[in-house]
């Protein structure tokens, strides 16, 4: 009944997987929150993540909603601390050491090596999201249109996501 220990376990684990951005942890988050713990279904996870892109601040704030659904207000607070605590402590501890390692040659190797892996994790997360979000020709065209507009023009992505809500209303339901 009390989901809070499970929420803390899952989100502190997901926390340390967010290398290069929150989306890196999306495949694991889907498995744990949807398949294992049934706090929400896959469509709801996609919707919350996508709506979260319109919110200001760090872009994974949708975790608060999952915490609220599974454990009420306490659940939301627990998830917030579990998700941001471990990486915040790590950043705090590592930052000083990392700065001192400025002349250590492997530091550059680590940065250069992690760059493609974190892009790969982001893409893998994006493809997991696409499996649920792209349901036909219309949604595929909308995703490509957003990509092309962002590549071509300097538009605020949050505005494009908002505009896409309007486009969604025009797509005929299946």
């Amino acid at each position: 009944m009390n989901q809070i220990p499970a929420l803390v376990r899952v989100f502190s684990y997901i926390s340390i997987l967010t290398v290069g951005g929150g989306m890196a942890a999306f495949p694991e988050m889907k498995i744990l929150t949807v398949d294992v713990h049934h706090w929400l279904n896959f469509a709801q996870l996609i919707h919350l993540y996508s709506v979260g892109q319109m919110a200001p601040g760090p872009n994974m704030m949708m975790i608060v909603s999952i915490g609220q659904w599974a454990g009420g207000t306490l659940g939301a607070i627990a998830v917030l601390i579990a998700f941001f605590g471990p990486t915040a402590i790590l950043a705090f501890v590592v930052a000083k050491a990392w700065r001192k390692l400025e002349r250590w040659p492997w530091r550059t190797s680590i940065q250069q090596g992690l760059a493609p892996v974190s892009i790969g994790l982001l893409l893998a997360g994006g493809l997991t999201l696409a499996k649920g979000a792209i349901s036909g020709v219309e949604t595929a065209m909308l995703a490509v249109a957003v990509l092309l507009i962002l590549l071509q023009y300097k538009v605020n992505p949050a505005l494009l996501v908002l505009a896409s809500a309007g486009v969604g209303l025009l797509i005929p339901p299946k």
Binding site: G22, Q53, A55, Q68, S164, G168
Partner: protein, 203 residues
């Protein structure tokens, strides 16, 4: 606009890190709270404008350096940056004030939105709008993949590491931790330090 050009000149006259001792915990909290409430569509440009251009709490070089640390560590760029900036200005309390400030507005918003969606998410109108929003989120991620690839890749073989990572996670279902360790170590070894190469921060 003119002011923004004049103030940094004064700042350097008093030394690059001269003014930082005066920043209070409350100031750190409020500044990051404002960023947390206004940074629509990605926090990094807002952080730069506020911390470097407006407040002069960091110079441009420090900002790029902190960003590169934020990107190499697990955690979101926005929250890692808040911790690093807070730590630099006022130590542990500054770091705590920073991360709470940047998380609070978006967290409260998603708390309310989540409750609303839980109750009304199955209405046809909402479902249709969310269909568009989710498709746009996919486009947004693809854009981030393209722009990060242009910016942060240093060798053509990096595209092989990207493909290996995607296959490991989405096809082989190895999970993120094992993929990160396996492909990560391979990629770091490939980028091993070469003779005559100087260590430098990747922006």
């Amino acid at each position: 606009m003119n002011e923004a050009n004049v103030v940094p000149a004064l700042q350097t006259a008093t030394g690059p890190t001269g003014a930082q001792a005066e920043v209070s915990i409350l100031q750190i909290f409020l500044e990051l709270l404002i960023i947390g409430a206004t940074s629509f569509g990605g926090a990094v440009p807002y952080l730069r404008r506020s911390l470097v251009t407006k407040r002069h709490w960091l110079d441009d070089k420090e900002f790029v350096e902190m960003l590169s640390i934020s990107q190499s560590l697990p955690g979101l760029n926005a929250t890692n940056m808040a911790v690093l900036v807070g730590e630099k200005l006022r130590g542990i309390l500054g770091a705590i004030a920073g991360i709470i400030g940047i998380c609070l507005p978006g967290g409260l918003l998603m708390f309310v939105v989540g409750m609303y969606y839980h109750q009304h998410g199955d209405h046809a109108f909402v479902t249709a709008a969310l269909k568009g929003v989710s498709a746009a989120a996919v486009g947004l991620i693809l854009f981030t993949v393209v722009s990060l690839s242009k910016k942060s890749l240093s060798h053509n073989i990096d595209f092989v590491f990207i493909v290996m990572t995607v296959i490991a996670v989405n096809r082989l279902h190895l999970g993120v931790p094992r993929t990160l360790i396996a492909v990560g170590i391979l990629a770091i070894l490939f980028h091993h330090p070469r003779k005559g190469q100087k260590a430098s921060a990747i922006p």
